[in-house]
Symmetry: C2
Subunit: 347 residues, 2 copies
């Protein structure tokens, strides 16, 4: 298994990317192909003992910065670490691409160099979100690739999300919900209301509207939403978790005995904090492009990079992209058969 | 000060509504006017010692149920507790209206019986949201009244929210942000991008895009958003807080020493939980209708009802509705003067 890593992307590159690559190569026995400026990567590698590990360097010059218009940058910079990595994936020189850099840049480069899976209208970014259930996760898609969506996009997100959860988490017939402002049917904005009849007809187990408050308790295995609301969902959750942690810290400062209590509670508090820690989720999968692409949080540390590499390897192993293609092929075939039947009936 | 309370609304009415009314009347020296079925209310009142308190009963028969279409129900049921309460406010027989019942029903009844403040296109529901800053609150508007919005609605939400925070929290020149999927200008869905130029010209301190993750740290005093995304924001925050608390409880079960720790940490943990407890927020204000209307959480307990009544009283005391009217009048006058000036220049 070979995973190409954008060594230059993210807030703390190349320190955390190179460190995460070494870590992943050691823990999972993978080959990690680092893409970026060789001198910079080599200097970082020197800080680690990576004897016996499978690490390689592919030169690439430029980086797509946060402030750039991603599509234009991806086109203009064929030599950026993202573009070079995507091209390697395209040519079959690697099995998956991982970055913790610019999400929009990753999406643009993937569209340009890998292209969409035939039949997919819009690729989407999805992430596993923690729940208190046995499976422990719900897959939320889209969390940011498509700020404005049409009902048929949501239909395809549901389909891809369903395949992802079935393959990656092993949930049979995952329950698919649509994020809304009320659980009753009829609640929702225009998009949700228009998407409902489509979703009900889909080849997945659609359970209707779900609310943000019920997602953590595991009301659905897949939550589909437009990339704007999905982004609000993920970031609000991140913000609330931090508010909670800060409030507890403030309480500890104020009540002296609480400090001793915190010491005793440490494993319990750490387990709770870990539950909501994006570093554990292993980044977000870009679904709908023709290849395995994982995009991690820009603020990722080495541990988060390691986990994103692992997630990419799992996505290859469980053949998520192949399964999505087969699912789409099945639908196309069914539709053709139905059309054929309808035609015959009319004759 | 007289506050009318819909005694029949909410998941736990009339127990918690009557109890909350007694509590508020005692703590704040208000007159609470209970609207609903007299026999039911009287039976509840018998459970409390309310000698010396100012409580009255106004008969009303029907209740608007969660499953009903709110606008139709409000029209059809002129004798519902919501309709009767709104009519009392309209006739000046009370100073404010409070319910913990159906939000859509409250909005519909308010529109029907109170009407909009002249010039307001869409009333909106806003709520105070906890932050870790000194003021301790940010006002999020809209959280559910308008699932689909136009840029000019968001402009008016910003204006009303700004007045609300200035009056209720005492923040001078509150910073107004728009909820988006990225802090950089240019990020956002169609609505956000189209609203930006309007918001920049408003008579308030607009600071641009804000993300859900930064709201709890107090990046803005007012956050404007459409009612769909605002609802996702509020409910996701509620769900994440619960996930966090459940994870801590799970940790306490698993690590025996943590139980002792939790005991010592109790005041700190309780302070943190209180910070995120909707019962403390005092319900949501319906801004843009011609009167003070506060709508609390359907799951409110007596303490939450008490706080919603207090919030309504404060909204009257600080004359939020009057201030919004004056602000709108000023804008209208300015616009007229500008038009007059433009006309003169053209002559």
């Amino acid at each position: 298994m070979r995973i190409v890593l954008d060594a230059m992307g993210g807030d703390h590159a190349p320190q955390v990317t190179v460190h995460g690559a070494v870590w992943a190569a050691r823990d999972f026995g993978l080959e990690v192909q680092l893409v970026g400026r060789p001198d910079v990567i080599e200097r970082e590698l020197e800080k680690h003992d990576w004897r016996g590990l499978s690490l390689s360097i592919t030169p690439a010059g430029q980086v797509i910065e946060m402030a750039e218009r991603p599509a234009a940058a991806a086109r203009a910079r064929a030599n950026s670490s993202m573009a070079v990595g995507m091209q390697m994936l395209r040519r079959g020189e690697t099995d998956a691409f991982v970055t913790v850099g610019h999400t929009g840049g990753g999406l643009a480069a993937a569209l340009l160099y890998l292209g969409r899976i035939p039949g997919i209208k819009r690729p989407a970014v999805g992430t596993l979100y923690p729940t208190t259930t046995e499976n422990g996760y719900c897959y939320v898609i889209d969390i940011g690739a498509n700020a404005d969506c049409r009902p048929e996009y949501l239909y395809q997100f549901a389909l891809m999300g369903s395949v992802y959860v079935e393959r990656m988490i092993g949930v049979k017939y995952p329950r698919v919900g649509i994020l809304s402002n009320g659980e009753e049917e009829g609640k929702g904005n225009r998009l949700v209301i228009d998407a409902l009849p489509l979703l009900k007809r889909g080849p997945f187990r659609f359970i209707g509207n779900v609310e943000g408050k019920d997602v953590p308790s595991g009301i659905a295995d897949v939550v589909v939403t437009d990339g704007f609301s999905g982004n609000v969902f993920i970031k609000t959750s991140e913000g609330t978790a931090r508010l909670f942690i800060d409030s507890i810290k403030e309480g500890i400062r104020r009540y002296p005995l609480a400090r001793l209590g915190a010491l005793l509670m440490r494993p319990a508090l750490e387990a709770a904090a870990r539950k909501l820690d994006y570093r554990e989720f292993g980044g977000a999968a870009l679904l709908g492009v023709d290849g395995v692409v994982v995009i991690g949080h820009g603020r990722s540390d080495a541990y988060a990079v390691r986990n994103a590499i692992r997630r990419a390897a799992q996505t290859v192993e469980y053949d998520v992209v192949g399964a999505i293609k087969r699912e789409l092929g099945l639908i196309t075939r069914n539709n053709e058969q139905r059309e054929q039947r309808d035609e015959n009936n009319h004759q």
